[in-house]
């Protein structure tokens, strides 16, 4: 009986594999993690940190001498930082997932509460030692720097030292948070991350996969869905719920967000450079169909977004129930099954972040 079993187990696969099309390429997951860290994650935090540093200088100049010139520079510095954030936000795990909240919660909780911002300013409270995350971060700066005409913002800043102090504190708070995460990646976390080269719930690949999906859901549900009034239970659009309602730059940021997701998926730094990421990984695992579907859907998303001018006011379009927003949202929605369930199935990556037993 046993002998029979052994013979069967040896023989049958020999017949089986003769006509199999199992992928034979082995994919070096550890090399992918190294690429992700060196080509995507660390550069994203580095540029975010550089931009946040430049923003501190610009805000200091503005608060030292409020004028339309210094304000313009500060606004530009804010935009650079907010654009950098669109890439860094896709890695909200590991050192970015602190006990007090993720980096995303700390620096980009929106919509901002203008009431809380004004209350903190009125109280002269620049400690930021509370859980009012919707009173700081990039969205609070969007309010403080862009609410009203340049002249009005300058006037408000000129007359209120407490407003200037709060502006400085929020800017430094953002930089400090980013600095902490960047340092962690540059010191101990890199080796830790690259070392977890399996596919279990705690592995590096699972972390990036889930962070990427959460980052994508953030775009779909919170940056587009809610402002456009497309989420369940909404009875109207919520234009003030866009990421940056005061600057009117939300669509610009959303486009960058969209591009960041695609670049991370395909492993693209710029047109000339590729690194090992999910696209290469699924191809190595025989996922030609999935790669094609994903590419086509990314193209469809880009086509839908191209119908809306880059400088469009997302909030206004949402308020006007512009059909192009709905079309864009629908295309985003279609991508989920490819980058989430189909990919996790093909790669054997866990969808749950915490571990649990299965059978």
């Amino acid at each position: 009986m046993i002998r029979l079993a052994i013979i069967a187990t040896v023989l049958i696969p020999l017949f089986g594999c003769a006509e199999s099309n199992a992928p034979t390429d082995t994919f070096d997951r550890q090399a992918m993690l190294q690429d992700l860290a060196m080509q995507a994650i660390i550069p994203a935090y580095m540029s975010m940190q550089t931009d946040a540093g430049a923003m501190i200088a610009a805000i200091d100049a503005l608060t030292l001498a409020p004028s339309e010139v210094t304000l313009r520079a500060a606004r530009e510095a804010w935009l650079s930082t907010a654009l950098s954030w669109q890439r860094a936000q896709l890695f909200d795990f590991g050192p970015a997932d602190a006990i007090t909240g993720t980096l995303g919660q700390s620096v980009n909780t929106f919509p901002t509460s203008t009431a809380k911002v004004e209350a903190a300013i009125a109280a002269g409270d620049t400690s930021l030692q509370n859980f009012d995350r919707d009173a700081r971060g990039l969205p609070a700066l969007d309010y403080l720097l862009f609410d009203g005409s340049a002249a009005k913002v300058v006037a408000k800043l000129s007359t209120s030292p407490m407003r200037r102090a709060y502006l400085r504190a929020v800017t430094r708070d953002i930089a400090a948070h980013v600095q902490r995460v960047y340092n962690a990646w540059n010191t101990t976390y890199y080796a830790d991350f690259v070392g977890r080269n399996g596919t279990d719930a705690g592995s590096g690949a699972t972390q990036v996969f889930n962070a990427l999906n959460r980052g994508f859901e953030l775009l779909k549900n919170f940056k587009i869905g809610i402002p456009a009034g497309l989420q369940a239970g909404q009875t109207a659009a919520a234009p003030m719920s866009v990421e940056a309602p005061y600057s009117g730059l939300s669509w610009r940021l959303a486009l960058e967000h969209q591009q960041a997701v695609r670049d991370l998926w395909t492993g693209r730094v710029d047109d000339s450079m590729d690194y090992r990421s999910f696209a290469m990984y699924i191809l190595a695992r025989g996922g030609t169909d999935l790669d094609r579907s994903t590419t086509q859907q990314f193209d469809a998303i880009e086509q839908a977004s191209a119908a809306i001018p880059e400088d469009a006011d997302l909030g206004a379009l949402c308020a006007a129930q512009d059909p192009r927003i709905r079309s864009y949202y629908v295309e985003l929605q279609k991508l989920t099954r490819f980058i989430k369930s189909e990919t996790s199935s093909l790669l054997g990556i866990s969808i749950t972040y915490a571990s649990g037993d299965g059978d």
Partner: protein
């Protein structure tokens, strides 16, 4: 009638209690470990306290999470009971407490359904009707008169039968063309485990998935018989250890390998067990009797019949079992398919016609969402919860529909359910769910 009498004589003949006592100790120890592990991993909070919504079984909707501190107290009682079973202390109270607390927890949410949890409930039920504490236990130490040398044969063999059912059905379930011919989903799972120590390098050998698939099927279908036969027992047990260790490394299956490695020891010769617990049977052995034995045996006959029949109930439903999952649970279909889904629910106000998408993360944890996104009964339960939630939050007469894209064994996703119908109007039950779309839609 004579046959029945002879059968009765065979199953009630006295056999050494040692294998049963050892099995009790090992089962109690494994369950103690399992409880402590569950608590230590923070899963009480994560699985039963943090989620606001749960997915109870049909007919058991009254089973609710006891919240905080209720769930902790329940787990505390369960752990103490498991220790009691292991030590044989206040055995009846301990094993029945364990059976009830453990099963209660499992009934709260089918998200966490595992075949081995089902096995634990069944084993606990069987342990609660046998005198497994009447040797090598604190109860005997307290009251030496309890000690017996033998028990009726069925008290030991019912566990072998139960284990046999588990393995054989797990093996039969693997006799499909996708498992054996395509080596699916082994071909998906194995490369994902290429970084494991020792066995990692095996995982990327192109023909290895077929070896694993066939070995798994042959192992499952034959191992209970090879364990029962003396001449093959040692080889079979070695295979048990290797098989469960390897699958334990490859998959997140918790304590299941441990439980099976421990429980299959019951197949070994009584003398071995006697040596282990330092027991010898005197010339005039004390026979342990089971009260109401006839009734218990009648009940067990029905139990065994159900155990044999339940895994086949899927044939009563149309469609592909792996796709519809009608009759999938409680059938020892262990690690058979790679299935995942993306489910987007839409809530429409029937008065205004306005429709919006649900963010599942608002209501479910990642584990719940993952399971719900591919299982029809969970989908309608969720739809009904969403209906009530949004009805209470201003949506008038909500119409709940869903686009559920499911991928099976790495194939491109297909819609699992009719995406136009009001899922909240569908009722859970044993009837066929006609709104499940065929896999080839």
């Amino acid at each position: 009638m004579r046959l029945l009498r002879r059968l009765h004589d065979v199953v009630t003949a006295p056999v050494s209690i040692a294998p049963l006592a050892v099995a009790r100790v090992l089962f109690g120890a494994a369950m103690t470990f399992s409880c402590v592990r569950f608590i230590a991993l923070g899963w009480i909070e994560e699985q039963y306290i943090a989620p606001t919504w749960h997915f109870p079984y049909y007919g058991f909707e009254w089973v609710r999470s006891l919240g905080d501190p209720g769930m902790y107290l329940l787990y505390g009682a369960m752990t103490l009971a498991a220790i009691g079973v292991m030590l044989g202390a206040f055995y009846r109270v301990s094993i029945i407490t364990f059976l009830l607390t453990f099963t209660y927890v499992e009934l709260i949410d089918k998200t966490y359904y595992l075949n081995h949890y089902y096995f634990v409930s069944l084993a606990a039920a069987l342990f609660s009707i046998v005198p497994a504490h009447r040797r090598f236990s604190l109860d005997v130490l307290r009251r030496p008169l309890l000690a017996v040398d033998t028990v009726p044969r069925w008290c030991v063999d019912v566990f072998k039968l139960q284990l046999g059912i588990v393995y054989v059905y797990a093996g039969i379930a693997k006799m499909t063309s996708s498992w054996l011919i395509d080596a699916m989903p082994m071909r998906l799972w194995m490369p994902a485990n290429d970084t494991l120590p020792v066995i990692g390098p095996l995982m990327v050998i192109p023909w290895m998935p077929w070896v694993f698939a066939w070995t798994g099927m042959l192992f499952d279908t034959t191992v209970p018989f090879l364990l029962a036969w003396k001449r093959t027992r040692l080889v079979a047990y070695t295979a048990v250890v290797v098989f469960h260790t390897v699958t334990g490394m490859m998959f997140q299956i918790g304590v299941f390998p441990l439980v099976m490695i421990a429980m299959t020891l019951i197949f070994f010769d009584a003398r071995l067990h006697q040596r282990v617990i330092g027991m010898s049977i005197s010339a005039k052995p004390v026979h342990g009797h089971v009260t109401h034995q006839t009734w218990i045996l009648r009940g067990l006959a029905i139990y065994v019949m159900l155990q044999v029949l339940i895994p086949w109930r899927f044939v009563l439903y149309p469609g592909e079992l792996f796709w519809t999952e009608q009759g999938y649970r409680f059938s020892w279909r262990v690690m058979l398919m790679e299935k995942a889904g993306t489910a987007t629910f839409y809530i429409r106000d029937r008065v205004t016609g306005r429709e919006g998408a649900v963010n599942n993360a608002d209501f479910l944890n990642a584990h719940q969402e993952k399971q719900m996104s591919m299982q029809p009964d969970m989908i309608i339960r969720y739809a009904s919860l969403l209906h009530d939630h949004y009805a209470a939050h201003g949506v008038r007469d909500p119409y709940v529909r869903a686009e559920v894209w499911v991928t099976l064994n790495g194939a491109p996703s297909k819609l699992l359910v009719d995406s136009s119908i009001d899922l909240s109007a569908q009722r859970e039950g044993f009837h066929n769910y006609a709104w499940i779309l065929p896999r080839s839609n």
